[in-house]
């Protein structure tokens, strides 16, 4: 890691770079808080889901299953499958970290978005920067949940939907840098996307395993291609 990247890898800068994740998480968390309340869950429960589990898709799924009368062990099992992809993401983050400190805290904050952003930033190799990034994400998620539960859907639905869509846009934006830098990233991305589309169409295996398989297919293509010699392209380099 360059000296400049090390100097810039402060906790504070990590938090600031996490702003896009905060913006994406907040409206989605408001929907979650509202959904939790309308499903009959109290404030501590909603806060517990967002603050302790901190995994959006599985939270929505759990609340819906709970309302439908699904048994708790079954929901826990489904949660495990849906969140299994974090295993690979953590392995990727772990492989790039400059030092293993604050691991239990750092590991807690690994989500799709924090993982994706960390992968494209040199500074995220530094634990305190990464934790800053995760804190920005976590704050957005928890504050949105709190406000959503307390005040209901105060955001206009159009803003809610469009900012929620922003999370997908974020991944696309983060893909542009690596693809510009190295054309071989196109088959990797393409293979993963096609794999996931195919698995979704045939609706097998379960949703959580589908994404793990698709990610693995794409990464396997990458393993078969020549190594990536270049440095990491940082899409936010001048911001």
């Amino acid at each position: 890691m360059s000296d400049e990247a090390t100097r810039n890898a402060t906790f504070e800068r990590g938090v600031r770079r996490g702003l896009p994740i905060f913006l994406g998480y907040f409206p989605v968390a408001v929907s979650f808080g509202l959904l939790a309340r309308t499903s009959g869950l109290g404030f501590p429960a909603a806060l517990g889901f967002s603050g302790i589990v901190f995994a959006g898709a599985s939270q929505f799924m759990a609340v819906l299953l709970l309302s439908g009368g699904t048994a708790i062990p079954a929901i826990i099992g489904a949660t495990f499958l849906v969140n299994l992809r974090h295993l690979l993401m953590s392995a990727s983050v772990a492989a790039r970290l400059s030092e293993r400190v604050l691991t239990p805290i750092l590991a807690f904050g690994v989500t799709d978005e924090t993982f994706a952003m960390a992968a494209t930033m040199e500074e995220a190799r530094h634990p305190r920067f990464m934790i800053g990034l995760e804190l920005a994400a976590y704050s957005g998620w928890v504050s949105g949940t709190v406000l959503g539960h307390l005040f209901g859907g105060f955001l206009p639905p159009i803003l809610q939907t469009s900012f929620g869509f922003g999370l997908y846009a974020l991944f696309v934006i983060l893909l542009v840098g690596p693809i510009k830098r190295r054309a071989l990233n196109i088959p990797i991305a393409g293979a993963a996307a096609v794999a996931h589309i195919v698995l979704s169409v045939v609706d097998r295996p379960s949703a959580g395993l589908r994404i793990v398989l698709a990610m693995t297919v794409g990464a396997a293509v990458g393993a078969l291609l020549p190594p990536d010699e270049g440095g990491q392209a940082d899409p936010g380099e001048t911001s």
């Binding site: 922003g166 846009a169 693809i179």
Partner: protein
């Protein structure tokens, strides 16, 4: 209370996959395994977007495609994350308003 049990259980099955790799991977991987992990972020992002993003705007395909295109094109020419993100969000919001 059963919800407390649910949250506790979900925490365990979510946190363990997140934390175990940090302790299981002691050394930096090399060779093909290294290439696998280097490729993983790009693969993961592509898998996370497709096909789920296509139904994310109330199930309508067109605004989702337009939003993704807006994000990609803006990001191609403009550095940083916030401007392309707002471009995508803006496109989708405008579509929903019209």
């Amino acid at each position: 209370m059963s919800v407390a049990l649910l949250v506790a259980g979900m925490f365990v099955v979510t946190y363990l996959p997140r934390v175990i790799p940090f302790y299981a991977l002691k050394r930096r991987p090399s060779g093909r395994l290294r290439r696998f992990f280097d490729a993983l972020p790009v693969a993961a992002m592509a898998a996370l977007v497709f096909p789920d993003a296509l139904g994310a705007v109330d199930g309508e395909l067109l605004p989702a495609v337009l939003g993704l295109l807006a994000a990609a094109v803006t990001a191609w020419f403009v550095k940083g994350l916030v401007v392309p993100l707002l471009a995508a969000v803006g496109v989708v919001a405008v579509y929903l308003v019209l």
